[in-house]
């Protein structure tokens, strides 16, 4: 596996700040807007954005985590069952503006499940999608993000990993691809 840094810590921080400003442009002081991070990895993006937004706005921003396991379309198509993470949405989303947040947008299937899961909590007035990394040209479903940290062109055999200081020890976004000789051997 070859490893390539797509965003280092400084670039990642800059991207998150830019995204926060983009959000404020559309959502003002977040009076009627809620951030929803998708489990398991989107919640870290949401947490960081919430901190930055609260610093800029000087007020609390409402946020929650959403697990989509039970709404996925690959139940029983895998060797082992899909095990859920925690959902904490202990507020009403009725008539709110929701920003769904994930770290990597790839096939779009997670977001499809996320929309279904979200709507079991009520009827928001609007749902937008924010992704830190958009692996464009790899979509299985007609889903696009409203806010994008960085677009990357990748092969489906490659893997994008977003790492965080409090999880993996360093803020960075990595692209793993098979080395040329590995591909040749196959």
């Amino acid at each position: 596996m070859e490893k390539q840094v797509i965003l280092n810590a400084t670039q990642l921080e800059l991207t998150l700040k830019r995204l926060s400003h983009e959000l404020i442009e559309t959502h003002g002081n977040f009076e009627n807007t809620i951030l929803i991070g998708l489990q398991p990895r989107g919640i870290h993006v949401a947490t960081r954005l919430k901190i930055i937004l609260e610093t800029i706005l000087g007020r609390a921003v409402q946020a929650g985590n959403l697990d989509i396991t039970f709404h996925r379309d690959d139940f029983r198509r895998r060797e082992t069952p899909l095990l859920p993470s925690i959902t904490n949405i202990d507020f009403s989303i009725e008539n709110k503006r929701i920003i769904l947040i994930d770290d990597v947008l790839f096939t779009g299937r997670t977001i499809r499940a996320g929309l279904d899961a979200l709507l079991t909590f009520g009827r928001p007035s609007q749902v937008q999608l924010l992704t830190l990394i958009d692996r464009r040209l790899s979509r299985d479903l007609p889903i696009q993000a409203d806010y994008i940290g960085k677009k990357v062109d990748t092969l489906s055999t490659e893997r994008v990993a977003v790492e965080w200081q409090d999880m993996e020890g360093q803020d960075q976004v990595l692209l793993f691809s098979k080395a040329a000789n590995e591909t040749a051997q196959r």
């Binding site: 039970f70 029983r76 082992t80 069952p81 899909l82 095990l83 925690i86 709507l119 079991t120 009520g122």
Partner: protein, 309 residues
């Protein structure tokens, strides 16, 4: 990733501690689901489940059916009273006829101990035991453990006394296995005629004095006297049983610590437990019922994951 070590849930005796913990952890997620405005997830929309009940049940059957519907499974119900069993059909034939209609999972209650295990060896579908005679009632034990964990944070190291008709109780046997696997200490308490002779082989304590048992425990699970299963008189009268082994508020309040009171239902108010105890804040009887749906969703979800496509 983790999955269950078994293909059927016929008894707690077959489960590992990891299995039980996986079920309880998944159940916690489902409990959150059933408290949403829309209490339903689409996971099992291509699964059909048959609830086959050869014995009466209200709560368990309703609980299973709700669990299945909230997972979006298709559900068919079958009860012995209105079935061809009365016409002389065997258990395996009855179930195979149901399975011929493309059913993936069977939830069965049957008066004979071992019926679920027997069925699981004879048919292709997944089997969930919803009570087999005086043998096991695994989902009840799982929901009891879930309720204890929810209330006390953990089951490990807790002391649980099961009071009443241990001899005829499938709830007692499943609870003993489940609680012990999770690291709890178990005591049974009741008149000596209703305590099985070799119960100590299961590693449980035995007491014939309710006050002594309650002073020892953190949780008291009060069982119903199952008169329908008692072929002879095991004690002189219900009144005497109630005086010696019934829990009332005077006794509960006189204990040196606050304990949790559970009951698998249906309650005989005034026999094993008085009304004021059943409705007291120490009672988690209705929490048990709510948790039952979440736990059964978890069991069905995890077993359904093992159904081949």
């Amino acid at each position: 990733m983790k999955q269950l070590s078994v293909d059927h849930l016929t008894g707690i005796v077959d489960l590992t501690r990891q299995d039980i913990e996986l079920i309880l952890e998944t159940a916690a997620r489902f409990k959150e689901v059933i408290n949403r405005p829309i209490k339903k997830v689409p996971s099992l929309r291509d699964i059909t489940v048959a609830n086959v009940f050869f014995e009466n049940s209200t709560r368990t059957r309703l609980s299973f059916e709700l669990a299945q519907k909230r997972l979006s499974a298709d559900v068919v119900n079958f009860s012995a009273a209105s079935s061809s069993v009365k016409k002389g059909e065997t258990l395996v034939d009855t179930v195979n006829n149901i399975l011929a209609m493309k059913v993936d999972m069977v939830v069965m209650r049957h008066p004979n101990p071992g019926a679920a295990k027997f069925l699981s060896q004879k048919i292709k579908a997944k089997v969930v035991n919803a009570g087999d005679g005086t043998h096991e009632h695994p989902t009840q034990a799982l929901l009891d453990a879930f309720s204890i964990q929810e209330k006390l944070g953990t089951v490990e190291g807790k002391k649980v006394v099961i009071v009443g008709d241990i001899l005829h109780s499938r709830v007692a046997l499943s609870n003993i296995y489940c609680l012990q696997k999770l690291g709890a200490e178990v005591m049974v308490c009741g008149p000596s005629t209703l305590i099985p002779k070799y119960i100590h082989q299961l590693g449980v304590r035995v007491s014939h004095n309710l006050r002594e048992a309650l002073e020892w425990c953190d949780v008291a699970n009060m069982l119903r006297i199952q008169l329908e299963r008692q072929d002879i008189a095991y004690f002189p009268s219900l009144r005497e049983y109630s005086l010696l082994f019934g829990l009332d508020l005077n006794l509960l309040d006189s204990l040196s610590k606050e304990i949790i009171v559970m009951h698998p239902g249906p309650i005989n108010r005034g026999v094993e437990i008085s009304s004021d105890v059943a409705d007291s804040k120490q009672s988690i009887i209705l929490d048990q019922v709510e948790n039952g749906v979440a736990v059964r969703m978890a069991v069905i979800y995890l077993l359904a994951a093992k159904i081949e496509r």
